[in-house]
């Protein structure tokens, strides 16, 4: 009888790999290094807080749909909350990006953390872009009309049609938020695994 050999199941292998890669005390630490006590280190979590408000307000908007958020005062409130949390999200994310760039935050085997952050930034721009396309006003018409020519020029206009409201709404509320949330989640797990980068 083997006493130390765990059951050869894929769930067991995944669990052991997950615990080895990210032990619980690293996943949910209760202390941080002293150098984290600086305002410049708070912009990552501020970005996460803004993202949470974006997802919650977007979820409320999705419950009742465009007719509601254009015509009801409560709907306009949530529509505005969705916009302004997005503005704050990008504001905090850009300051976070500057701080990490000037800290050379890819040091100490943190290249993947840096890259996932950069890609999350780019995908967030695409998510915001499809949000502007689904405002259903002259602004979104103008943005769609201008973007159509650029996207046709690079050959993807047939697959990603910025004048197709339904397609852009689905990209905005399903595909791109999943990508952003997945990238941000992976980014945070990498920060947990490798620790917060020390100052230069």
């Amino acid at each position: 009888m083997r006493t130390h050999d765990p059951a050869p199941t894929w769930t067991g292998r995944v669990r052991r790999a997950a615990v080895d890669t990210l032990p619980p005390d690293r996943l949910l630490p209760d202390t941080q290094p002293a150098y984290v006590q600086s305002w410049v280190y708070v912009f990552g979590v501020l970005t996460l807080a803004a993202l949470a408000v974006i997802l919650l307000s977007g979820g409320v908007l999705a419950l009742a749909g465009p007719a509601w958020w254009h015509t009801s005062s409560v709907g306009r409130f949530f529509n505005s909350m969705h916009l302004w949390s997005t503005e704050l999200f990008f504001f905090f994310m850009v300051v976070h990006l500057w701080a990490k760039f000037f800290m050379a935050a890819w040091r100490g085997r943190r290249a993947m953390t840096w890259m996932t952050g950069a890609i999350a930034f780019l995908v967030s721009i695409g998510t915001a872009f499809t949000g502007y396309l689904t405002q259903q006003n002259f602004d979104s018409q103008w943005i769609g009309g201008q973007a159509k020519d650029g996207l046709n020029a690079v050959g993807i206009g047939a697959f990603f049609n910025v004048l197709n409201y339904g397609q852009m709404l689905m990209w905005h509320i399903v595909l791109l938020p999943l990508a952003v949330a997945g990238l941000v989640g992976f980014h945070v797990l990498l920060v947990r695994r490798n620790g917060v980068v020390p100052p230069l």
Partner: protein
């Protein structure tokens, strides 16, 4: 409630203003946000964090 109290400090439904000098063209709104980000970034470096002890 007085509706005027809810109005934005800066009128948001007028024509947008731009800063234009030669090849340089940017809306005032975007310029304000960029300047605010730079100011906040600089302040976050120099302003001490609450409860942070000075290094010996």
């Amino acid at each position: 409630m007085n509706v005027a109290l809810l109005a934005a400090v800066v009128p948001l439904d007028g024509r947008p203003r731009y800063v234009h000098h030669g090849w340089f063209l940017i809306s005032v709104a975007n310029l304000v946000v960029i300047v605010a980000m730079i100011v906040v970034f600089a302040l976050s470096i120099v302003v001490p964090f609450p409860g942070c002890r000075k290094r010996q």
